[in-house]
Amino acid sequence: MNVWEAARIALHGLRSNRLRSVLTMLGIIIGVAAVILLVAFGNGLQTYINEAFGPLANQLTISKTQGSLSGSGEPKDLTDGDVEALSNSVKAPDILSVTPIVNGVANVQASGATTRASVVGTTADYFAVTDRELVVGEYFDEQQVRNKAKVAVLGPNVVADLFGGDAGAALGKQVRVGRTSFRVIGVVTPNGQQDDVVFMPLGTARAYLLGGGDEVNQIIVRATSTNEVDAAEAQINAILDDRHRIREPEARDFNVLKLQTLLDQSSQVLSFVTLFTAAVAGISLVVGSIGVANIMLVTVTERTREIGIRKAIGARRRAILQQFLIESMMLSGIGGIIGILLGIGLSAAAGVVLPALVQDFPAPVVSPGSVILSFSISLIIGLIAGGYPANRAARLRPIEALRYQ
């Protein structure tokens, strides 16, 4: 007997008990669909994070620390000299841009209202580097930075406090930061981290607010690509070690933070969470497979007499084994295929519906791996769950099976 004959007989068996077959499949369908859907949600979140922060993955932030080892002298500040040295494309070929930042805190006043905000003084490319977007107006340009122009770009919370959240009303107005008036030339969108803020050109901040010489609080460096982040880090260390006369890495008076490291860590956590939810969904797949095993046992018992007839007219053990194994694999395999279609369908539907209900909800992304894996698992389930019942059927003795009522 060939496999096609066995498949034909098995299909016939399934069709003669349609409702039962469908209900049994339902267990597998739900399990497979749940695995695919949940993995898709996790994937969607991962994709969302990569898209949101991917452009920042080539960023490195240098900040000042206390040199921890004694004997290396006073820790040195980061200075304009450091910025210039890092901008040297011969010594630092993998560095794309260098953005210095000075910051402080000041009172901000306009139209009778007062609020407190952090002041960030930086260069014109800061906004491109940090991926900050404008609601209205524009950023200061290089000329304004050179001229130490008295212009400011406001964060959304400042606009909320001083102008009732009306960005349009704020544009072109004068705000008083510390003791000096600045013209508002732009308002940025919220990013949830740095919204109580006033941006202004570096020299402006030094001249009118923060005072001080040539020191900077932070330097944001971009590597030429995400693949060159490590090379850029090495070049930063080499240049600053040289300038700050540092002999051992332990004694450094600066710290280089790679955003990529943070991203890697967060995506690792996320993949653990995805794995965990998939495993929970996998439990329903296990329950479904118990259903298959159960129904196959019932089927074999119910069809004992039929098995006796088949054996009497010459079916070998193997033929009976094949028939019931194929039957249970069809149950779980067809259930698996329907589950895959359902899982993909639900993921697509969730991708349309959820972002409409919840703003910025990341659309699920179906991963081919989860589809292949859950289909293979459902086939293996059929094999295992059907194995014992099919074996029991194959071992039945024909006289006893024929006598069974």
Binding site: H12, E306, I309, K311, A312, G314, A315, I399
Partner: protein, 264 residues
């Protein structure tokens, strides 16, 4: 040819020993029509199981066409049942929810062979069910179901047709109908072994072997009851052995259909 030599079957339940068959010697020649009779408990069911290779004797040898069946393993026994024995059971034992023609095809599914559908169709035509090919068992009368079973028994061209109380669930008319079918098959040269407890059924046989308590108590040849057999006019050719190679044969489906309807 069927040969039983000193065949015994002993069942043990705890300390109790039951000799269902005790030292049976029996030879059935090809082309015979034998009824094995006996009351319940006489050992005739055990006899049927052993003849049908469904059970092995405790001692003694059983040779079917010269093959010592007792020495065969499970797969070989399955093949013997498939190719050398055609079973007809009291309760028809068709596969439910499976069409008549599929049921008749089944032995070929397990035993192989070309032109399955064609051969199954011809076997059904031979038993007068050429117009019921795609009926399900529950759409057929008892007599018709039993004829499907006979067609299934015939289709592999076996050495022996082994019928276990084939008319036990049939009314008188269907009984005569089915018994005629066996007589005609036998006239065409087939060996038929009937297991029965009804004397009226045994009347159709050429030889009657009677069992009691596991022993053969009588073995007689008799004048066959042929009163229901329509005189030969070439019809019996319809039951000539089916050529296993394919549909070609001297007979065809256009021959007169003898049996109008088995069950009513």
């Amino acid at each position: 040819m069927i040969e039983l030599e000193a065949v015994s079957k002993v069942y043990r339940t705890g300390a109790i020993e039951l000799r269902a068959l005790d030292d049976i010697n029996l030879t059935i020649e090809d082309g015979d029509l034998v009824a094995i009779m006996g009351a319940s408990g006489s050992g005739k069911s055990t006899m049927m199981n052993i003849l049908g290779c469904l059970d092995a004797p405790t001692s003694g040898t059983y040779r079917l066409d010269g093959i010592d069946v007792g020495k065969l393993r499970e797969n070989a026994l399955a093949d013997i049942r498939n190719k050398k024995i055609g079973f007809v059971f009291q309760s028809f034992n068709l596969i439910p929810r499976t069409s008549a023609i599929r049921n008749v095809e089944l032995p070929m599914v397990y035993g192989g062979g070309r032109n399955r559908r064609e051969r199954a169709r011809r076997a059904l035509e031979r038993v007068g069910l050429g117009d019921r090919l795609n009926h399900m068992p529950n759409e057929l009368s008892g007599g018709q179901q039993q004829r499907v079973a006979v067609a299934r028994a015939l289709v592999m061209d076996p050495t022996m047709i082994l019928a276990d109380e084939p008319t036990g669930n049939l009314d008188t008319a269907s009984t005569i109908d089915i018994m005629n079918l066996f007589v005609e098959l036998n006239d065409a040269g087939r060996t038929v072994v009937l297991i029965t407890h009804e004397p009226e059924v045994a009347e159709f046989a050429k030889r009657v072997v009677t069992l009691r308590d596991g022993h053969i108590i009588s073995d007689v040849r008799q004048e066959q009851n042929r009163e229901h057999v329509v005189p030969p006019d070439g019809r019996t050719e319809r039951f000539a052995r089916i050529d296993p190679a394919g549909p070609a044969g001297p007979d065809d489906a256009t021959g007169p259909v003898l049996h109008k309807d088995g069950g009513r």
